[in-house]
Homo-oligomer: 471 residues x 2
């Protein structure tokens, strides 16, 4: 699928001795069953599965350290697995090796409500985090849609619907612990809100896609639950109108909590999937957080801007249950879309551009899509300039994959020309290695490779992702 | 002053041939005059100057690249100089070499008002940036007090009074360009608001203190100027009361723009220096940004919290000129303090702790200070949990330096025990290398060193700072 993939897919030997040592220590929490390996050798990307040689279900940091140290002795790759929601092939064992399933490490280690921080094991999911916070009056805002683990979200620098107000994992991870390729534990960051103490290793690990170490513990920033929340839906005659309304909202500095764009094809899929009757037209979903007065003020401002951009009606969802229904529908959009073409997989684009170029970028993308035979619903975290085209392909038809890649390339190249990025939140994985070079230039990718070699000289940690090992 | 300093102070040879080559290309913009070298071999720290062998006044990126490439050929260190406001010895040429004065590179390269971004050469100062933005309705919020250059602020991960609302340089640098140790240009980041494209090299360079490369260009996030601004001063009977008012303000999520703590000794110095008549007691300076309604709402909430914490009067500064006078006074606090003890230098502590521990941390620090013979005014960006004790010493008296270091060590160790950091915003420089190991652990500092070696294998870039070169 990508030029760089084949060369990475040279499987390394998996010694029987390693398996025996793992079993001796971990017993039934080591599996080589094909069904288990199959489950862990794939993700939500359209790539064919590539199975690890074994899967370890870790219960604590010591077991991760034990597994990594043992694998390192045998020169065997290690891949961390959260809940499999990656869209870029991050979890495929392209060189074989051991996948560590982190979902058993889902404990809350401490909640420091007074400091607005929580420290968790990395295998906890974002919904579990918010469940644990239920009685504190606080919440963790980063919300990529899927109920991903905090470790996975950290490793891909995830963001999602709330990032326009609360930032991404980049802004919301205060510190973390990880097991390095040589089995040593490394600790980064503190619980202080800011620091100038040496290189920002925390930020280096946020977005490292499992290639620098296995994240075992994460300290997150929390926020007081807003006194008031309101949500609204608004329909526009064109994508351009909808996006222009968002651009103006951001430019005047309304502290909007979420603003999501959904095209008419996606609305159709959501209506079917969630049994709703939303009007099938380009739509914005809004959410406002604040005091009663400020939410009202924000909403009035945004409604005025929407009206000036030809909005066709502004519908409010004031009751919590109406808001939930609305946002659940939006969150299920990915699965709803997949139902548009039974048996399909989605090649999902993830460009992010400077906000002023967003209307142009989306409108030109729409033109490309209209000319394509494939169904291509569009959703977007438009407040950040980020949108996704889910190009729906029949995985059995190579010509559809080819067409999807052609579209993907067009969309990415346009975004790069606009000074944007090929990936706003999904990461590079297997799929965007060439795009990364186009975006950053070879000197920057060389520097990334040099950092990787410095911390993982034998390329044990999730090898074959982000960039090729050799120049 | 610090155990690691002496071993770093082995000056490297400075070949006549290198000087000749620099002069041939750059002419009068290369200086070996002692006054010039003296000016560039010191900063605002209490360290004795250590002079570079030559100073280059660069006018553009090509000249930086030329200088770095030439120095690399001769194994000569390179130090970037902004405007000399470092407090941690960053600018001292502990191994000799060439200092590049970046202040000639102060051009605005582009303002993208619609995207809320600006791209500048790194030698521009923060005031120059805001001057350039004057007619755009936008501003750049990060404000460390001194009129530092954007390059210097990026290199030290600076923050200051506005960070509680707008974040630090970590959050506000979108991308940058730098010259690497081998003379190659590296480009990082895009103008998009977020990205998951590979390792976060931008964040790696933010806070790298000149040790990974010379930053030549920076793209910054901008913010719409708030519709309404108001400021207030409020006096408390004790430091603890003042800090508790701040903690509650942060915990309930008031989006306060600034909240600065100033102790009574500092108020006395400000009154003298700025010819004011502020009451000499523990004081909070507040600033509120927002719409008219939200500023009013924030201010009422904060006033209520202050009252509950024994505030003695809340004074408003509604007119822009009153606000300016107030904030100028706060900004000049550092220079005002130095006047408390003629001829003194300040050893400035910079701890930052989780907000819930701040009252305890400040109160215990106050006790240490009361027992010390040295004058020790305290100011703090308390909304972030960050405060500074300026320990005023006579640089001619070694016993005063020793006492300052004793206090410093006490304060840092307390902060680390509270899960805080030894430096909230000033950086490590020469002074905090041992504290860094205590804070992060040797595995993390090893990892930093490995990253440094990967990008600068001959230790040419600002050597002797952050950590020792050998383990």
């Amino acid at each position: 699928m990508n030029q760089s993939t084949p060369s990475a897919t040279v499987r390394r030997p998996f010694p029987a001795e390693l398996l025996a040592s793992l079993k001796a220590e971990l017993g039934e929490r080591v599996s080589i069953a094909e069904a288990v390996r199959m489950h862990h050798g794939r993700d939500e990307s359209p790539f064919a599965p590539q199975l690890p040689d074994a899967v370890v279900f870790a219960q604590n940091t010591q077991e991760v350290q034990f597994t990594v140290t043992l694998c390192a002795q045998h020169d065997v790759p290690i891949i961390a697995y959260g809940n499999g929601s990656s869209l870029e092939g991050h979890l495929l064992a392209v060189q074989g090796g051991v996948t560590i399933d982190m979902s058993g490490m889902n404990r809350v280690l401490s909640i420091n409500a007074d400091d607005l921080t929580i420290t968790v094991e990395s295998g906890i999911s974002r919904k579990q985090v918010n469940e644990a916070l239920r009685d504190t009056g606080l919440f963790f805002p980063v919300d990529p849609g899927a109920d991903a683990t905090i470790g996975g979200m950290t490793a891909t620098r995830a963001s999602g619907t709330n990032a326009v107000r609360y930032g991404t994992m980049r802004e919301n991870v205060l510190g973390l612990k990880a097991v390095l390729a040589d089995g040593r534990m490394i600790s980064m960051g503190t619980r202080a809100r800011k620091s100038s103490a040496g290189y920002d290793l925390t930020r280096l690990f946020v977005g490292s896609e499992g290639t620098l170490g296995i994240i075992t513990e994460v300290t997150l920033r929390l926020y007081p639950q807003p006194e008031a929340v309101s949500a609204a839906v608004c329909v526009f005659p064109s994508m351009g109108d909808a996006v222009r309304a968002v651009i103006e909202t951001i430019q005047i500095g309304v502290p909007i909590a979420r603003v999501e764009f959904v095209d008419s094809l996606t609305i159709r899929s959501i209506n079917r999937y969630s049994n709703l009757t939303l009007r099938e037209a380009p739509t914005l979903f809004f959410e406002f957080h604040g005091t009663d007065a400020s939410v009202k003020e924000q909403a009035e401002l945004v409604q005025e801007i929407a009206d000036q951009n030809n909005a066709e009606g502004f519908e409010w969802a004031m009751r919590p249950e109406d808001r939930s229904r609305l946002w659940n529908a939006r969150h299920n959009a990915y699965f709803a879309m997949l139902q548009l073409k039974p048996g399909c997989r989605a090649v999902t684009t993830d460009v992010c551009v400077p906000i002023s170029r967003l209307a142009e970028c989306v409108t030109e993308t729409e033109r490309n899509i209209m000319e394509s035979p494939l169904p291509c619903p569009i959703v977007g975290h438009v407040g950040d300039g980020n949108f996704h085209v889910a190009i729906l392909i029949d995985p059995e038809k190579p010509e559809e994959l080819e067409e999807a890649e052609r579209l993907n390339r067009l969309i990415v190249q346009r975004a790069l020309q606009m000074n944007g990025t090929c990936t706003g939140e999904h990461g590079v994985g297997l799929h965007k290695m060439d795009f990364l070079i186009e975006e950053c230039g070879s000197v920057a990718v060389d520097a990334m490779r040099a950092v990787k070699r410095a911390l993982d000289p034998r390329n044990l940690m999730n090898p074959g992702k982000i960039f090729s090992w050799v120049h």
